[in-house]
Symmetry: C2
Subunit: 350 residues, 2 copies
Amino acid sequence: MSTSPRAYTRPLDIQRGRIDLNHGAGGRASAQLIRELFLPAFDNPALRQGDDGARLPPAQGRLVLATDAHVVSPLFFPGGDVGSLAVHGTINDVAVMGAQPLYLTASFIIEEGFALAELQRIAQSMGAAARAAGVAVVTGDTKVVERGKGDGVFISTTGLGVLADGVEVGGALAQPGDAVLISGTIGDHGVAVLSQRESLGFAADVRSDSAALHTLTAAVLAAAPGAVHVLRDPTRGGLATTLNEIASQSAVGMTLDEAAIAVNPPVEAACELLGLDPLYVANEGKLVVICTAAAADAVLAALRAHPLGARAARIGTVTAEGQPFVQMRTRLGGRRIVDWLSGEQLPRIC
Amino acid sequence: MSTSPRAYTRPLDIQRGRIDLNHGAGGRASAQLIRELFLPAFDNPALRQGDDGARLPPAQGRLVLATDAHVVSPLFFPGGDVGSLAVHGTINDVAVMGAQPLYLTASFIIEEGFALAELQRIAQSMGAAARAAGVAVVTGDTKVVERGKGDGVFISTTGLGVLADGVEVGGALAQPGDAVLISGTIGDHGVAVLSQRESLGFAADVRSDSAALHTLTAAVLAAAPGAVHVLRDPTRGGLATTLNEIASQSAVGMTLDEAAIAVNPPVEAACELLGLDPLYVANEGKLVVICTAAAADAVLAALRAHPLGARAARIGTVTAEGQPFVQMRTRLGGRRIVDWLSGEQLPRIC
């Protein structure tokens, strides 16, 4: 991001102004937008250098990179907005690799006519989420597309983290006999966004669980060194899709216990009304942990000791199957296959 | 990026198929798109792990991060496309920090209805550009937005590089007396995109200069250790805006020599017809170097010895001014101020 001289420029009218194509053209208007709107929201030394990228100190250990585009609609929802989501989502992708996130980059694609006041609100929310997580937004980019060629604002974030020696987690490392745990209730994020999108009054008190999980993953790894095989945040496609991905990557099966999987009552009610299965509804602040059975109690205790894991539960077991099927023991004592999400449930949920 | 089982899934119909919202929902269709279209285009070990991010070896030295959103319209133009541009643009942002680029991430925002054949062509172009540059695309993300909420495909790329000890370049480091050099002709990229957009027949032989500059920057740094103060690629806003940014960051003036700045004749003709000044037209494969006057000949020789710098020239001098003005001695012997780009010249040029 670059700065420009203040001469000959009136301050942005953030209360009433709107984005126009000049704000993406790389000239004086672009520089003013960065200087008056983005820099104050994200302020940090790397960003203030005003170059085409960020200069950062050396990092000890293996590196982890993760990236996510955020196209959630609507942009603001109970419990968050596209800005905080873009910070949390990418921090979490780094964290579930077992790494400590250090830095974020942010690139904005803004539709012509978007209100500067909304953009400022989103940038400030991003900045606050990043500061709360201790992960600075060190460089960025802004592009503007014509009215009708975008939808408000899309934000792509990339996270860089460091992976401590000895930490080896990954979707391909689940072993038969391992325990499957989750840090809390499922479906909250998806229902919060949907309730806002569809103006569902009865679900108005459902808030997104959007949160940065890196201190939770660090606590889990510290509680059971070497015994944690997989960490994953069950976002798009929900818990069911995430577990199917892991089963496929690890060539194992899983058996879940439906009674152990917690769903907040208003989330359950909304899902029933809308014909959704909460197993397939996105989460943005939940952690799946797969670890040795011997370590399961220690991991569960570490999850529950953290504010984001108070309702953690052991929900199933990894099995040796010929096919990577995820099965569930239902509350009524039956068994069913929990398949991949195959159709669209909730577009633009993150 | 995640993989999924092959069972129960017909191969993508890349010749006739189109993107639908399912391809962004994180379920089976997303996994298939990644497995059948993106993975073959970008193939590398980090990406094949199929986790939420990429695990990478430790890197020696200071780190550099840079990010760019690419919204160029049209998506294909003479000399490149949004895919190769997304690779080159971000490699160049890392390179002009003085760093060696190591890895890229890529996040795609695709409009519902976009042809799979075009997406594959773009992904293959990205993969080819990355392989040619020796910089792997190690992780990515794909989101889909409804028809009319995007425009084909937008690609955000982030680059990670390492900065060798002793290399200190930055927009704030230009010194009075320094020489200003550029690696070749200006305006080629912008006119190539515009000629495609507006179907300008007379400019049909203008090709974008889109190219990865990291070997050129390395050659420049090696030719004059410690004497190179600023490296910058004059993209959006063109050479004029880039030099104004540097003047502002360094609190210096500059005097340019119009006769030394080369413009390809068809680019000049197109600019005249369209009322554009090539000084403000985007480049995607040109390098501005500001170095000590003593090192200017060595830097010029290094530029000219590289295939991307054959037409390099010394175009001006850094001056000590009260205001950070860029001035130009015209061909006719006059002087004029080269201001920032203040209005929109070419929207969605990169």
